[in-house]
Amino acid sequence: MKKGYKTEQGDEVLVRTCGWSPPGDHPVGCGMILHVKDGKLVKVEGDPEHPISQGRLCPRCLALTEFENHPDRIRYPMKRAKADRGKDKWERISWDEALDILEEEVHKIWDNYGPESIFVSQGTGRQASLYAPPMANACFKTPNISFMMSGSSCYGPRTVVADFLLGAGYPELDYAQFFEQRYDDPEYEVPKYIILWGKSPLQSNPDGFYGHSLIDLMKRGSKFIVIDPRLTWLASRAEYHLQLRPGTDAAIGLAMLHVILGEDLYDHEFCENWVFGVDELAEHVKQFTPEWAEEITWVPADVIRGAARAFATNAPSSIMWGLAFDTQQNGAQAGQAMLAIASVCGYMDVPGGIILALPSSFMGRWRFETSQYVDPEVFAKRIDAKEDHPAYATGPMCHPDSILTALETEQPYPIKMTYFYGSNPLSPTCYAEPERWYNALMKCDFNAAHDVFMTPTIMALCDLVLPLAGFAAQDAVVLPHFGRNTHFLGAINQAIDPGECKSDIEIDMIVGKRLNPEAWPWETAEEFFDAQIHTQYDWDFSDLRDAGVFQQKQVYRKYEKGLLRPDGEPGFNTPTGMIEVQSSIYDDFGEYDLPFFMEPAMSPYSTPELAKEYPLVLTTGGRDFVSFHSEHRQIPSLRNCTPDPLLTINPKTAAALGINDGDWVLIENQFGKCCERARVSYEVAERVVHAAHGWWFPEQDGEFPNLFGVWKSNINRLIPMYKVGKLGYGAPYKGVLCKVTKVSDPDAAMQDPTAYVAGEDRGPNSFEDGSAEKSPYLYQNFHPGE
């Protein structure tokens, strides 16, 4: 790449930068040139020299001028009296006053209840993922910080399963991301097959993976096996599409293992040296034939067989596992099966296979090391479900479902303050049963947030809001996979004046200096990044600015070279030193050591009585090109591409229900209801519907109870809390039941949230009522006595 990051061209200043957030995306770090004229962002152009994005940009960055120049941006701190929550009675204040208020409120809680009564609610993907934990630990000194989906159902479950079984960071498809020459590097091989499992990377660019690399690989000959309830565009071009019933991924995995191990299609040498428990697994999966799986998953047995054979007999091949592994109770087992498939085939850390990495490096480590600033006695009080889910409590965060219980019952102690760290959880991305959360959070003495727009969450709940800078107005770094498998570091370079807005790290620092200065010795973001870079390299942030990106070196077969274990020994960082397809530690957590299939808590087979009233299986959360979860709804060029929340329904099902494409429909079950517009498409099977998430309507009345229409199309009103797996992870965002009816009024689902009555049930058991003859695969059968 060219040296330097800032040039002048005519009356414009051109600033090269890498993207992250806000506005949101995962840390993909796409390269772009920001055109600034008279201090204003006027144009964004993709940087052709960037090794990964190569000039390409998605619509969200191409519409960045609309974000930066939007009249509704929050541009200064604001306060509002607690009695006025829900009313548009915000008052502009200075940063000094804002910090005085925050400091005073935090001290009140520290003195009266203890730091543990402060809770930090983190969203997904944004820079917040790195900087929210330090805000909790090193500013507020509370251990109660979590990503806030029920069962922490995004990314965390997969990384924990990888940690436990693989002893490595996030296993990622090898798309030549570490090579300067990319696909042309002589060491690289193109994967013959790529399994896309519960993942649609073209839209989601998950965790830093560059989605359209899949098209690069398709052009170079990779074939696809897509395991997804939706016929995605990639599935329509796949050699095998396993269109499974949502939530039955583990059954697919077990049947594929049955074929691969039973037909002796696996890599014996790799298994003998590096995989623990293969014989036990082979014996275990003998019972799980593709015919068994067909009955459960609705996928024809010969399709499962064909896919398993093609994958196992074409080295090298690779697998990408997606959010679907996180958003189900049985996801840890599905993940175990997926890792076992990739491992027994010998595709781990080979060219064209799955790249492994040390689990944490760079700032991925710093963010959780800040927990040292929490008093050990306070840390011991962390609400992390240690009694019910001891595996979860070994992780870095508090448990979302248990936090809701604490908010509601004030047991084991009350939560008195919540800080929403650049997240909008009432809009249906994070919180399941959002009305329940709303009512619980209203009990807090004080709530604060920082963000870029006035969101339903802030309007409903907060007493103070701080202005967050967009990535074009800040200095920062972007690291794909948050440090868990990071192919490059990219410089985010400030191009425009942030005004009174500050970046996440700057807000951390300015708040930290008030509340706990010893943890925050740095004066500027640049000083902070210098210090972080120096933990690993001898160059500075300014060098990274000039370089644009720094591609990390990678070598294959790290397990042979002692590069995956802190002690430098060959092997994997697990108790056995091998990949554990049979876990040596799950027994300690009260979980089976081999993967098994468990029915969703609510399904045609676990709750057949409910299925009579709610006959359709509801899956949610498929991503769109023009939004990031609840973001971008107010950006004209993007909203114009997808103006409405869409429920995808099969043409036959729609016809039977008298629903036409474009009709508003009511989606409901025993937990709640919402309205979306019907999109009639063969993308889903006849018994399944898919509902868009993340919807609110910035153009509507923001005041309570409407709150920018946050309840209208809130699909998480149909998702229950507390249905998590034994390890404490996973919840049924992609697997409940519903019915769908045509409505004339798009506001048919509106309801005052204070009228919401929460269910009594706070357990992970299924909703089975004794009528389930067909399914022995219920939670209570696997974990009796809970």
Partner: protein
């Protein structure tokens, strides 16, 4: 003056909206009612024994193939940003050779 044509290898078009938004920015098309390029969607539908699902971007009367950019040695805004790298603008003389290179399976040529 060189005549140009837009070739779209649409078998790889994923319907990502990048060309639409890139064009809107480049040509400063303020009205959300107007488009310089917009894709049409065909499918998904079952045809023969396989799924048919194609997106085909179609340039409108507002498209001038970004001749200014081409003359500066740059690609047109849509082709520059295309996530699937499936768009290009070439001189009309080069079209037959490019079509031969790209092969069948979904290629379109436009002269808006």
């Amino acid at each position: 003056m060189t005549q140009y044509a837009m070739i779209i290898d649409y078998k790889y078009c994923t319907g990502c909206h990048t060309c639409e938004v890139a064009c809107r920015q480049e040509k400063q098309i303020e009205s959300q009612e107007e488009w310089g390029i917009k894709f049409a969607e065909f499918g998904p539908m079952r045809q023969g024994d396989e799924w048919y699902w194609d997106y085909v971007p179609v340039p409108s009367n507002l498209c001038d193939l970004c001749v200014d950019r081409i003359e500066e040695g740059k690609k047109p805004a849509c082709a520059h940003h295309c996530l699937a790298k499936c768009m290009e603008v070439v001189s009309v003389d080069e079209v037959p050779a490019r079509l031969t290179d790209l092969g069948a399976g979904g290629v379109a040529v436009f002269m808006p």
